[in-house]
Amino acid sequence: MNPVNYLFLSALLFTIGAAGVLIRRNAIVVFMCVELMLNACNLAFVTFSRMHGNLDGQIIAFFTMVVAAAEVVVGLAIIVTVYRSRHSASVDDASLMKL
């Protein structure tokens, strides 16, 4: 199967993720969508790595996962503290500061 299709898939995933970020209110879900975008990137990396016939892409994919994990740690921590103090994880509630 033509590897380019995998690229299309990754682009699709990326877009879905982005759309999610724009649409969803719940901070957790928004964050998941970001993760989805990262994974879309991973797919792209692997595909390209396959097409170029070198391993850089695949290694990068591993790095990405680690970074994602780290982001999860920090992100969840922040979101949870917010949830504790506001009893809501809706990003729209967090709009004290504006204009």
């Binding site: 982005a18 724009l22 209110r25 928004v30 967090a94 709009s95 504006k98 204009l99």
Partner: protein, 633 residues
Amino acid sequence: MESLIGLLVAAPLLGAAVLLCGGRRLDRTGHWLGTGLAFLSFAFGLVLFTDMLGKDGEHRALHSHLFSWVPVGDFQADVAFQLDQLSMTFVLLITGVGSLIHLYSVGYMEHDERRRRFFGYLNLFLAAMLLLVIADNYLLLYVGWEGVGLASYLLIGFWQHKPSAATAAKKAFIVNRVGDFGLSVAIMLMFTTFGTFAFGPVLANATEAGESKLTAIGLMLLLAACGKSAQVPLQSWLGDAMEGPTPVSALIHAATMVTAGVYLIVRSGAIFNGAPDAQTAVMVVGAVTLLFGAIVGCAKDDIKKGLAGSTMSQIGYMVLAAGLGPIGYVFAIMHLVTHGFFKAGLFLGAGSVMHGMNDEVDMRKYGGLRKYMPVTFVTFGLGYLAIIGFPFLSGFYSKDHLIEAAFARGATQGWIFGSVALLGAAITAFYMTRMMLMTFFGEKRWQPDENGELPHPHESPKTMTIPMVILAAGSVAAGFIFNLGERFVHWLEPVTGYEHGHLPEPLNVPLITGSAVTAMVLGVALAWVKYGRRPVPAVAPRGNALTWAARRDLLQDDVNHVVLVRGGEHLTRSLVYLDHKVVDGVVNGTAATVGGLSGRMRRVQNGFVRSYAVSMFGGAAVLIAATLFMRAV
């Protein structure tokens, strides 16, 4: 000798400086200091005069170069003096009459606590006026020109607490400024035309410049003369100027300053000779003013305003003459000098009358004063006879020659201006007789003044009467002396370039003289009929339209008021509004716009993460699109 020329100016200038900066400690002696310096200047004048007589006609002019004043490139203005016969005539007139009036003021201003300052101003005037007549270039003349303007401003407004005086002073200065505009432009024109504005080179080479240039310069000089000499259309200030103390009116607004315009025209004769159109303009102005002043003079009940009108009209004569070219110059000056004598005398007389009548100026409240102040009556009377041109008094000679010269112009112009001059003579006789009758003859019409006491007319002190006597003597004799063997004509000949003997076309001189006398008699008779035979009403009758208009200076002020004052106020007010709303509005508007823009754009910053994300997403899209587009093109 040259060094004395500077001293002429220096003496009164020193006086002014000392008196104005000296402070109260000079209050006792100040006026004598001022008077003394005036006489000193007169003495210098006499010395120079005698010295001048010692030389022959062509080499009488003295020059003295003090220092280079404003040297910039081709523009070389020097402080340098030129004392020729014309200047000499003025120097003697100014210092002579000036000294007398200083003396007179000592008595007249006795009770004024600011007398020291008054004498300071008088000295300042003398200095400026002398500078005006001995300057050897137009820029320095301009300095004197404005200097006398300043002095007249200060003296008209001497009683500043009276709003009317302050207004009159301001008016005089501003109207004169309009004239100065003319003088400035004239000087600029000379500079661009001749590269200099010193009398010598400019007048010597006047003929080189084209007639159009000369006409332009001439008209500008005429404008200047109109301002200073109160000629139509800039005459309106002279009447109000009578707000000043009477000696001021006598010295500045009768004898000397107002004649500066005539001096300017005669001095610039070479320019006018080359510009006939300008000359015609001069004559027209003179003729119009001549009648204008005379008519106004007939209607005034205020003795000083009446004299002011007369002054205007007499100067009209001089200007008319000055427009006639070389033939007229000499008689213009001659009339100027004689007028200086008798008009100053008349004013001093009027002052003396007011002095005795609790400063009452309305002639309808005088009457029958001849018994109470004989000296005043006699001197005033002689001045009166002189001005109406009573045979063999000074006015007779000068005016008669003027009329002849006017007719001598020949052709239509000659007839017009000649007959105008004759008519003027008649009217002069009328209003002067009217003045004489209302003041010294008839029955008393005295009114109690504001604090209820009737005036006790009495003769004025010696300090006042002596000058009156001297001036009266002058007004009787001057003309006769000048005319003896035409010495005045010869005296001025090097300046005016006119020696008597050949009139352009043969004139019947006796006829003209006769008609002049007749006109005079007619005027006197008419006045006698109106004011001598029947009693003068103490309140002015309504009179016809002309009288009404004449009392209001022929509506000239009303016109000015509507056109200039009102119009100007509207203009400035609307400009202020415009400046605030439009010019400044644009600036504030820009600031407001930015602020508004900012306020509207802030709304995008709505605090919602997701909308931020949207704009980022959109931004990314734009970025990508733009990059691709850049590649595409």
